[in-house]
């Protein structure tokens, strides 16, 4: 929690530093452009992607609105429109466009969006799982063995064919698991958004918030783990 407060302080400072136009040094009132000299301003490094698109920090977002805003900001920032401008403006346009593209790519995909939100809210980078999730432990160990055996087998043999068939079944099962996890994530997303909408500052709300974030993080990292296993499996039997 401490880390989080610290983060906010940082941002305030940066926003203050940015309240001056970087070209004409006048007080800045505009959002991305100085009202006085009409020149483009660098997007603050600490502006989160949601704010960048003028969206609330929610996990359900209207992708049509997101796309429209992305196109609008692309027209504002893209280097194509800065060809005749100063070097300073050209480099701001390049930096802003690159940031905008990353922001759009992140928010467009529901999983990346959730990972990003988790990062913002819980201040932690996503966990990278190195061992199988507890409820899949046995299943995945066995799968690894089958995979190894298949890799070493003579592909034209009857044995390989049996292994391949088994791997196909495993794949179907794992994909089913992945879909389950995604459905559970959807539920958590909904709960998160509802909690934010209520905006309560009670002890209970805080506890729920912590719980949702924790569950989200666990399922996200399990899902990534399973997804990587499936990719590996698909590549091996292809």
């Amino acid at each position: 929690m401490n880390g989080h407060t610290h983060h906010t302080d940082d941002r305030r400072e940066l926003q203050m530093a940015r309240s001056m136009c970087c070209h004409c040094q006048s007080e800045m009132a505009g959002e991305y452009f100085c009202d006085r000299c009409v020149k483009v301003q660098p997007v603050s490094k600490d502006l989160d992607y949601f704010s960048c698109f003028g969206l609330p920090r929610r996990l359900a977002i209207d992708t049509q609105v997101l796309e429209a805003k992305f196109y609008e900001l692309s027209r504002a920032f893209h280097p194509d429109f800065y060809q005749n401008k100063s070097d300073a403006e050209q480099s701001i346009s390049l930096g802003n466009s690159a940031m905008l593209n990353t922001a759009y790519r992140t928010l467009r995909d529901p999983i990346q969006r959730a990972e990003y939100l988790l990062d913002l809210e819980a201040g932690a980078v996503k966990d990278i799982r190195t061992s199988p999730p507890a409820d899949l432990f046995e299943e995945i160990l066995e799968l690894q063995e089958t995979l190894d055996e298949f890799r070493e087998s003579d592909r034209s043999s009857q044995h390989a064919a049996t292994l391949r068939a088994k791997l196909h079944t495993d794949r179907t099962n794992l994909e089913e698991r992945q879909r389950d996890m995604e459905a559970r994530l959807q539920q958590l997303f909904g709960r998160w958004d509802a909690l934010q909408d209520r905006g309560e500052a009670t002890e209970q709300a805080r506890a729920e918030r912590t719980l949702i974030l924790k569950d989200m993080r666990d399922i996200l990292s399990n899902r990534t783990y399973v997804k990587n296993i499936v990719n590996d499996l698909v590549a091996t039997i292809a």
């Binding site: 196109y71 692309s74 280097p79 429109f81 390049l94 466009s97 690159a98 790519r105």
Partner: protein, 606 residues
């Protein structure tokens, strides 16, 4: 704002276009067509480019360079397998191919620069102003080295390359402008040497590329090669001759192969025939479209793989595609059309001339950059993943393929040993797991202040700009100091080398210009000789015999001047001839007027 032209620097043909009051137009010069064959020949009168150079393919194969685009940004090892097909000599210096022409050797960007200069001159002559800025197109699937080489070529030609733009996306701009299309479109571009597929979403003037894929080594040239191999085998069987050791005959076979391929796009069968060396007779055989298709079908199939990958990367099914656009000369082959139509389930569009559409799109992009067109914006992607080599020779990906550009990624570096003063970074491009299987782009050494291990924190920003070209910046997070990075390209010219080639090109510019003057003077002289001879034949009887004799003397004086290399002498003899023939011209005009009075309309006579 100075004018910016759009250039399609193709493997086979190149074109220049400009924007005329909101409409893109290709530029053609007085006597010639708009397409300039991408061929450069070294003749006794210096270097020549385009159609006249193409004539040297069979006459002077060792000194005539074609398909140079295949060598851009490549090392000799990359093209080892096809060296046998090229009659000119390739060597390598500092990871860059050199092409030997006479005494000198040239890098591919230098050869490309000659083609660009020709286009620049044409544009200048046509527009009556000096041209210094251009947008140049490249295959979408070109990697960083190939893009950089293209930019270098522009610089060597005296052009500021304001933007490198992808060929299929350029084509989409030309289509979008024309039809105000909305929806999801596929651009399938099969040229002479390269294949590209791009999937775009067009909405309210935004052209957003969703995915791109391709093969920088697949095109009409490869079809020609297969047919050539077939013909060579036949010649060996029928005549016991191995033509592969005769560069000039090899070129003749190749041109016959291409001609037959092109004819078979229209007809179902055609005949190939050519003279064998040293009067050993003539080789003839028939080739049917079925035979051609059987031969080329695997190559056409090969192009469908990238199409499927692009669909997958964009998360679309063939049924999501609203329109399919064909670009590039090789898409005129019926087999290509059929296969593309079968894959996407849609009849492809080819309303715009597939030869010109890329240059037209480049002109549109040039107009966007100069502020003329403001309602269109192209959001392109990087075709290949960018990463760095990490421990164990594995590539760690920083920017994934099909990421919208400009794109950036930051990576923090530190040291493992106390007092370590540098960190070596190896930048790669490609989709493979291991560093060695990907394209090495560059290496550089990050400077680090000598501190205990793990203390330094250097943030490196990898930024792919709107040209798809990588820029690297480093910042010491402790001091806030930025560091300029000297990147040594793995397969490219260093800045100093480009600098020197620009200087060279100025030095040789004088030679080049005079060579061009000779060629132009000769062309004009040839035209004058032909018309004068025709006038003598038609109206010689209208003037006294001594005048005819004078004209004949002036004619032969011009003919011998035309053999020389002094353009002023040629122009002088042309003036003499025009003077000598003045009486004849007047007499012929009078005569035709008289005939007109006899009841014919003048327009029928002249």
């Amino acid at each position: 704002m100075t004018r910016i032209v759009g250039i399609d620097l193709g493997t086979t043909n190149s074109l220049v276009a400009y924007m005329d009051k909101g409409t893109p137009c290709v530029i053609s010069s007085r006597h010639e067509r708009a397409m300039v064959p991408s061929v450069v020949a070294l003749t006794d009168n210096g270097l020549i480019v385009g159609d006249p150079a193409k004539e040297h393919l069979t006459r002077n194969p060792e000194r005539t360079v074609y398909s140079v685009k295949r060598f851009m940004g490549k090392s000799l090892a990359d093209v080892q397998s096809e060296l046998a097909y090229f009659p000119y000599t390739l060597t390598e210096k500092g990871g860059v191919i050199r092409i030997q022409l006479g005494e000198k050797s040239y890098s591919p960007p230098q050869i490309s620069a000659m083609i660009l200069k020709e286009l620049k001159l044409r544009a200048e002559a046509f527009l009556g102003e000096s041209i210094t800025k251009a947008v140049i197109t490249v295959p979408a699937y070109f990697n960083d080295s190939q893009r950089q080489a293209t930019k270098d070529a522009g610089m060597i030609a005296g052009l500021e390359v304001l933007r490198i733009i992808n060929e299929p996306t350029a084509a989409s701009l030309a289509y979008g402008l024309q039809e105000k299309t909305q929806g999801t479109i596929v651009v399938y571009d099969l040229g002479g040497g390269t294949f590209d597929i791009s999937i775009l979403k067009l909405k309210n003037g935004i052209f957003e590329v969703l995915a791109t894929n391709g093969d920088t080594h697949l095109g009409g040239d490869d079809f020609d090669q297969l047919i050539t191999d077939l013909l060579l085998k036949d010649i060996r069987a029928q005549h016991g001759l191995d033509l592969s050791t005769h560069p000039d005959h090899m070129q003749a076979v190749r041109l016959q192969a291409e001609g037959a391929k092109i004819r078979l796009s229209e007809t179902l069968k055609t005949t190939v025939s050519l003279d064998l060396p040293d009067g050993q007779g003539r080789f003839t055989r028939e080739l049917t479209r079925d035979q051609l298709e059987a031969l080329c079908s695997p190559l056409v199939e090969r192009s469908l793989g990238p199409c499927r990958l692009a669909l997958k990367d964009s998360g679309l099914n063939p049924t999501d595609i609203d329109e399919v656009v064909l670009v590039g000369g090789a898409t005129r082959m019926p087999l290509v059309r059929q296969r593309v139509q079968a894959l996407f389930g849609k009849e492809p569009h080819c309303d715009l001339n597939p030869d010109e559409v890329v240059a037209l799109g480049a002109a549109v992009q040039a107009d966007i950059l100069s502020g003329g067109t403001t309602d269109m914006l192209l959001l392109d992607v990087t075709p290949l993943s960018l990463g760095i080599e990490t421990m164990g020779g594995v590539m760690s990906s920083l920017i994934r393929r099909n990421t919208t550009i400009p794109a950036s990624a930051k990576e923090m570096f530190t040291t493992y040993v106390d007092g370590q003063t540098g960190v070596d970074i190896h930048i790669l491009q490609g989709e493979r797991e291991l560093a060695k299987d990907n394209r090495s782009l560059a290496r550089f050494r990050l400077k680090v202040p000598p501190l205990p291990a793990g203390v330094p924190r250097i943030e490196v920003t990898f930024l792919i700009d709107a040209n798809g070209i990588l820029n690297v910046m480093a910042k010491d997070m402790r001091t806030g100091e930025t560091q300029s990075i000297e990147v040594k390209p793995s397969y490219g010219l260093s800045d100093q080398e480009v600098e020197r080639m620009i200087e060279d090109s100025f030095k040789f510019a004088a030679d080049d210009v005079s060579a061009r003057k000779v060629i132009e003077a000769r062309l004009d002289a040839g035209a004058l000789i032909t018309t004068t001879e025709k006038s003598l034949a038609d109206g010689g009887h209208l003037v006294p015999a001594e005048e005819v004799a004078k004209i004949r003397t002036a004619l032969s004086a011009l003919a011998s001047a035309k053999e020389g290399t002094d353009p002023r002498a040629i122009r002088g003899r042309m003036a003499d001839l025009e003077h000598a023939a003045k009486g004849l011209t007047v007499a012929m005009l009078d005569d035709s007027l008289k005939q007109g009075l006899q009841g014919k309309k003048i327009s029928d006579v002249t």
